[in-house]
């Protein structure tokens, strides 16, 4: 199933960067995506399930939780996993385009994982 990927900045992400990027909480925050409940249903995944997200340049796995977001979009705080999804092409601007990537999503495990964080 295809989605638009929207990496974002969030308060919890900023707080966990201050605490330390080596921490489990930081990793949980940047590994947790938000999706519309109907999209999760269509994927056949429960809130907290593990998904694999693929672009032309890379892939990463995330926990996905349901949240009040638009259909067809995935929101996730910027972090090491999102960096796997966009490559080094900056269209000559120096800035990797990070928002609005079309991504392919497949479910890795349908059941909730303990580390999934509440919507950021």
């Amino acid at each position: 199933m295809r989605f638009l990927l929207m990496p974002i900045r969030s308060n919890k992400q900023g707080v966990q960067i201050n605490v330390g990027k080596d921490g489990a909480d930081y990793n949980a925050v940047v590994n947790t995506m938000q999706a519309h409940p109907d999209d999760l249903k269509e994927l056949g995944a429960a809130s907290g399930a593990t998904i694999r997200v693929r672009t032309d340049v890379g892939e990463a796995t995330f926990q996905v939780v349901e949240a009040k977001v638009s259909r067809g979009m995935l929101f996730v705080p910027y972090g090491p996993p999102t960096c796997q999804l966009y490559g080094g092409d900056t269209d000559g601007t120096g800035m990797p385009t990070s928002k609005g990537w079309e991504v392919e999503v497949e479910v890795v495990s349908r059941e909730p994982q303990a580390s999934a964080k509440e919507p950021q």
């Binding site: 900045r9 080596d22 638009s70 979009m73 929101f75 800035m95 385009t97």
Partner: protein, 435 residues
């Protein structure tokens, strides 16, 4: 345990650089940061000096500071094209030393700006910019348009301290004297504070902003093309009427514009709109800059080299070219053969080159740099100057002292070591020319 309170400390947790923080310490750690938001509170608390941190690590093993500095100088001096990458957490004083170091080793200097608001700078260079300080926003602005940003999450005191809520000289009733409109792809937490929220279709900011400029000029626009942005022409007209009716309007924009494809075009369209509105009223546009002292990095690079980021000093004079001398591109092409990362953990992209890390938190997982040097945290235990998102310099009032040196000290020492070596470019005779 000595309890101490420092008033009017400056927080560098985000680009707001709030300078009204009352920092309480027990002599060793920050215990409270009164007035700070949660982000600022953790900034102070979690950057308290860590007594367990070794002064330096070489290949993950504890090393003396002198050895670490010497190896850092060797690696940078031996490299054909070293990169000095500033993550934007250091003081302006340290950043100036970083420019001098880049020049001494004939390298490239770039900052995290190239990976966030770099396109906003390119837009400024293409279009120009009408700007103001946050003090003017507080005292004068009666119309606020937040576009592609979410200050409730990323700059938690932006609306309460500078923009929407505070009573100002010409906005004495605070929130009641102001109108706030939010445009974003999602109804974020900031929408709760807005008088009006518009959901824009992802990737159509340039089109919507350009249509607004056209409508402002009385030019025809295609209703169907406008509808593709999520707006109707009537909505854009009504929004423009509100903007024109303001006494002082401000557009704050974030990565929703700058980090979407064609970011410089998006921001350029926002700047153009703000400029054209000055035919009707006073209107400005400002980027929502991020953490630490990223703005200071741009400022220091501008006053020393003439350019804000992505500057090569490999020919002995500054050359600027986003896409060529910017970190993401340099890593992707494999152009650099050593890197000094200032202020933060090295990104995985630096895995293939010997890397030197200088900062208050040393990387423990992932790609471990060859040389790691621990320093005092900016504003918590290191003094100096940082710049707020509106380019205003702010003095720091650190509440703690640290046994660790500052970033500036370390860069100075590395620079001194490099200058003992043969100059890479004879005319320079080992002396810094710019910074």
């Amino acid at each position: 345990m000595t309890l101490a309170v420092v008033k009017h400390a400056t927080c560098t947790g985000c680009g707001c650089a709030c300078d009204d923080i009352e920092v309480h310490t027990d002599g060793a750690r920050v215990t409270r940061a009164v007035n700070a938001c949660e982000l600022g509170e953790t900034w102070f608390r979690d950057h308290s000096p860590n007594p367990n941190l070794p002064p330096a690590l070489i290949d993950s093993k504890p090393a003396s500071l002198a050895d670490a500095v010497a190896l850092a100088a060797d690696l940078l001096h031996a490299a054909n094209l070293p990169l000095i990458y500033d993550h934007g957490y250091s003081t302006c004083e340290a950043q100036r030393e970083a420019v001098a170091l880049a020049e001494s080793v004939g390298g490239i200097i770039d900052s995290y700006t190239s990976q966030c608001h770099g396109p906003s700078f390119v837009a400024t260079q293409l279009v120009g910019k009408v700007s103001c300080t946050l003090g003017e926003v507080k005292n004068r602005a009666d119309f606020l348009l937040y576009w592609g940003c979410n200050p409730a999450e990323t700059h938690p005191r932006h609306t309460s301290r500078y923009a929407l809520h505070p009573a100002g000289k010409f906005t004495p009733r605070g929130r009641r004297d102001r109108t706030m409109v939010l445009v974003d792809v999602e109804e974020t937490a900031t929408a709760k504070d807005a008088d009006q929220f518009f959901r824009i279709r992802e990737g159509t900011d340039f089109e919507a902003l350009s249509a607004m400029v056209a409508l402002l000029r009385g030019q025809p626009v295609d209703e169907r093309r406008v509808a593709e942005t999520g707006f109707t022409v009537a909505q854009l007209r009504a929004l423009l009427d509100r903007m024109k009716a303001a006494r002082f309007g401000v557009m704050f924009f974030g990565l929703g514009l700058a980090a979407t494809r064609g970011g410089h075009g998006n921001v350029g369209a926002a700047y153009r709109l703000a400029m054209e509105l000055n035919a009707f009223t006073k209107f400005v546009a400002l980027p929502m800059r991020q953490h630490g002292n990223l703005v200071g990095s741009d400022m220091v690079l501008r006053w020393t080299t003439g350019y804000p980021f992505g500057v090569s000093l490999s020919r002995g004079y500054p050359r600027y070219n986003p896409g060529e001398f910017t970190t993401t591109d340099l890593i992707a092409r494999g152009d650099i053969d050593a890197a000094l990362v200032l202020g933060s953990s090295a990104a995985p992209g630096f895995a293939n080159v010997p890397t030197i890390e200088i900062g208050p938190k040393l990387t423990r997982t992932g790609t471990i740099p060859r040389v790691q040097i621990a320093t005092a945290a900016t504003g918590v235990s290191a003094a100096g100057t940082v710049c707020r998102m509106d380019d205003l310099p702010m003095p720091l009032r650190p509440a703690l002292t640290s046994a660790l040196p500052t970033d500036e000290d370390i860069l100075n020492r590395v620079l001194a070591e490099v200058r003992k070596k043969p100059a890479w470019y004879p005319q320079l005779k080992g002396e810094a020319q710019i910074a």
